[in-house]
């Protein structure tokens, strides 16, 4: 009976130790490397804003900003997995916003140049007739 009791006690403490261990592993701190991912995401959002993403690609930019807030919340809850995922997603969404903004800017430039080209062609036609 006493042996059985000791065995139960050991089993109980073992369970307690495992659950504490698991809890400790789950509540790991945000490492400097993960913190860097967050900083990179912030920088990517700033770069997208500089590329006029607010004008040309608001949706992915907004998504990136929302994800940055999610990452910040995950940091407050000491959730490194969520923090890393949200930071990385924020960075790629910001990169996407920048890429779309850049392409739209070039499209505008192309449209303006094509319009100018058409005007030049019309001018040549007019001059040829005048000669």
């Amino acid at each position: 009976m006493a042996k059985k009791f000791i065995f139960l006690k050991v089993a109980f403490f073992l369970m307690l130790f495992i659950s504490f261990g698991a809890g400790w592993a789950g509540a790991q701190d945000i490492t400097p490397a993960l913190q860097q991912e967050f900083v990179d995401a912030k920088a990517a959002i700033e770069a997208a804003q500089k590329a006029q993403a607010e004008k040309y690609s608001l949706e992915p930019l907004k998504k990136a900003q929302d994800l940055l807030i999610t990452a910040d919340n995950a940091k407050a809850f000491k959730d490194p997995v969520k923090f890393a995922q949200a930071s990385r997603l924020a960075r790629v969404y910001a990169e996407l916003a920048k890429a779309i903004a850049e392409i739209k800017l070039e499209e505008e430039k192309l449209a303006a140049t094509q319009e100018e080209l058409q005007k030049a062609k019309d001018e040549i036609e007019r001059m040829k007739k005048a000669q």
Partner: protein
């Protein structure tokens, strides 16, 4: 006839019942790992078609790598032991797969955009070159027109002088 109408009504009733029961569940399901993986595959395919293999190789490679990780996680999640795990663990696994596949999808869209931008820049360069050529032609034509105008003016002046001379000669001859 009545029997047929009854049957149609019965089928319609069950169809709408099914719609009412399953539609909210389908809507609630939202993003699933399979769905996001398929979207990522499609995005990679689109990027390839846009020429990302040559023009945005790094981004396309990153997209493929994220997709490979997502598919591996998906396979692991569908193994016998994973299916024995708690629903919380399975949810965490699904979230991880969705995250990996989303990274693949976005990277592929970035690659596609970069490839398209490259083609667009080439177009812009060609159009600018054409414009410069046409502007050169305009300058030459303008110069020709101006010269023609000057020649016309000189000719008109000479004719006027000749006419005056003729009148003077006539006046001298007639003694007026």
């Amino acid at each position: 006839m009545d029997k047929e109408i009854h049957l149609v009504r019965k089928i319609s009733f069950f169809f709408f019942l099914g719609l009412i029961v399953f539609l909210p569940m389908m809507v609630l399901a939202g993003e699933t790992p399979t769905m996001v993986i398929e979207e990522a595959k499609f995005a990679i395919d689109q990027a390839r078609k846009a020429g990302a293999e040559q023009k945005a190789y790094d981004d396309l490679s990153a997209a493929k790598s994220w997709l490979a990780r997502a598919e591996k996680e998906y396979e692991d999640a569908r193994s016998f032991f994973s299916r024995m795990s708690t629903s919380k663990t399975q949810k965490a696994k699904d979230d991880e797969i969705i995250y990996l596949a989303s990274m693949a999808k976005i990277k592929a869209i970035i690659a596609e955009n970069k490839a398209k931008k490259d083609a667009l820049l080439k177009d812009l360069q060609d159009t600018r070159k054409d414009l410069a050529d046409y502007q050169g032609t305009i300058a030459v034509l303008k110069k020709n027109l101006e010269e023609a105008q000057k020649a016309k003016e000189i000719q008109a002046k000479a004719e006027a002088e000749r006419a005056l001379n003729r009148r003077v000669e006539v006046a001298i001859q007639t003694g007026e």
